[in-house]
């Protein structure tokens, strides 16, 4: 392809008109609206299904949902999750649940925020939250343990209460939190 070069006259060939035009342009930008976001003070607006840090959630009764099936550990592409499974103590409430994680670690430096763990979890116990600024002073500090993950996750208000009922909940079961105090005891029983 032949590029058509414009014929410049003498004045244009001095480059001065273009230089002056350019300087006018840059000058005009000085008072214009700035696009900088003052980050720590002004947080960015996250879009709807933003995938931030993965965390463990509790059900509306405050019970740990995770049953340490280790599916997330196996599916995790960068192997960021490490679960130490454990059996539930004899005589503990909610004996319909057999297992719970004794320790649950996510290395936030390895995590790639792919969301596979959330997708694979049969108990809907692990969710990617909206936290995006994960920082610390050492590598060890960024290996979040079970307690930290539960703190970050908090309670998830949904209708999946597998631990409360064996099999399907009886018809007419309210969707949402039912706080009878019993569940709270259970969650403290680690």
């Amino acid at each position: 392809m032949q590029v058509q070069r414009p014929q410049l006259n003498l004045w244009e060939r001095t480059y001065l008109p273009q230089i002056l035009k350019g300087m006018w342009l840059t000058l005009k930008h000085i008072p214009q609206r700035k696009f900088t976001r003052q980050y720590p003070e002004v947080k960015p607006v996250l879009f709807g299904d933003y995938r931030g840090a993965p965390t463990l959630v509790k059900d509306p009764d405050g019970r740990v949902k995770c049953v340490s099936c280790q599916l997330c550990e196996f599916v995790c592409p960068p192997k960021a999750i490490r679960i130490t499974p454990g059996f539930r103590a004899e005589g503990a409430p909610d004996e319909n649940v057999e297992k719970e994680p004794r320790e649950f670690e996510i290395d936030m430096l390895r995590c790639i925020y792919c969301g596979f763990c959330e997708e694979v979890c049969p108990e809907e116990a692990i969710y990617l939250q909206r936290d995006f600024a994960i920082s610390g002073y050492s590598r060890e500090e960024l290996k979040f343990n079970k307690q930290k993950l539960l703190e970050l996750g908090g309670v998830r208000e949904d209708s999946i209460w597998k631990w409360k009922y064996k099999g399907a909940p009886p018809p007419g079961t309210p969707i949402g939190p039912v706080r009878d105090g019993k569940g709270m005891e259970a969650s403290e029983h680690h």
Binding site: I19, M23, I30, Q38
Partner: protein, 343 residues
């Protein structure tokens, strides 16, 4: 004794004010650059980020001073930043900052050294600045600084020719080389930029080349030469180059103001005559500095607008355009003076 004391005070004042302005020019550069790119710029250190230069200075002092293992001649490597910095500081001596400062019954001159060879002194000393850069490029003993040094020597030598020739018409018109005379001439007559616009334009462009500023910053072209002659420098040595560049900008601005924009004068009373009272004397210094700061802004403005020249374009512009133009300008000015003023 008193004379010496006054001179020392003047030197301290001039260097102090100059270095402060230089430090703040660095910040102004970052601000203007940011504004032109729709960003905010440094605003964290102190109110509106005004303490940024201080933080930068502290950082430079405390940073590790790296001496690369391939530097063979440590003395030249160390000397180079000083040689770049010093000429910039001593050329300011002949530039008149103000007319007079009448204090305690004395009439203190607003210039450090009222030399009759003023502009020749400036060119003589300013030429030394290139040695620092060439020395840095050579002593670093690595390829990018070397290329930067080579480019710098070629560029600065060519543009020194235009720079020198471009101001000749000014002195032909004024009839003196003393910069104070030049300013007084402009105070009583008219600003020389109106009589010698071509001279001013060529002087300004050559000054950009002499101070290694965009569009002629080939010696330190960040993209191609990784910073050019100061690639291997760190800590305070790098800061010296940096300050040297901005001090050179200051001197170039001061010269433009002095030669073409009436120095300390404004074209109305009481600013169009040497000061007889202290407030006017101080106002003259203020006027001078305001004009200088405007030209510093122009330097920055041009830097963030115009892309860098190619090396052959740079040389072609210098030798094939500016040198002939300046000679024609000198000839033309001479003709006009001879024909119309019979001098």
């Amino acid at each position: 004794m008193n004379e010496i004391l006054i001179h020392l005070l003047k030197i301290a004042g001039v260097i102090g004010v100059m270095l402060t302005i230089v430090a703040y020019t660095v910040m102004l550069e970052r601000w203007v650059c940011a504004w032109m790119q729709d960003r905010i710029g440094p605003n964290r250190v102190g109110p509106f980020g005004l303490l940024q230069p201080l933080a930068d200075g502290v950082k430079f002092i405390f940073k590790e001073d790296v001496l690369p293992h391939h530097v063979r001649h440590k003395i030249y490597f160390t000397l180079a930043p000083a040689i770049t910095m010093v000429p910039a500081l001593i050329t300011i001596a002949v530039v008149p900052w103000g007319s007079y400062l009448p204090v305690f019954g004395r009439n203190i001159k607003g210039v450090l050294a009222d030399l009759d060879v003023g502009i020749l002194y400036v060119f003589a000393i300013a030429s030394l600045g290139v040695y620092g850069i060439v020395l840095a490029g050579w002593a670093s003993n690595s390829k990018y600084p070397f290329l930067g040094g080579i480019r710098s020597s070629a560029q600065m030598i060519s543009y020194e020719v235009c720079l020198g020739l471009s101001v000749v018409p000014v002195f032909m018109q004024v009839g003196a080389l003393n910069l104070s005379r030049v300013v007084e001439y402009q105070a009583t007559h008219t600003w020389l930029v109106l009589c010698q616009p071509l001279s001013f334009f060529i002087f300004m462009v050559s000054a950009f080349a002499e101070t290694n500023r965009t569009p002629f910053d080939l010696p330190e072209a960040e993209q191609e030469l990784v910073g050019g002659y100061h690639t291997e420098y760190s800590s305070m040595k790098f800061a010296m180059f940096f300050l040297g560049e901005y001090a050179n900008m200051f001197v170039a601005s001061a010269l433009m103001v002095t030669l073409f924009f009436g120095g300390w004068s404004l074209p109305f009373a009481p600013f169009n005559a040497p000061a007889v009272t202290l407030p006017v004397g101080l106002a003259h210094i203020g006027i001078f500095l305001a004009k200088v700061i405007f030209f510093l802004f122009v330097f920055i403005w041009v830097r963030w607008t115009i892309p860098r020249f190619r090396y052959d374009q740079l040389m072609a512009l210098g030798w094939k355009v500016f040198v002939p133009l300046t000679i024609v300008n000198i000839f033309f000015t001479g003709m006009v003076i001879m024909v119309f003023f019979n001098r």
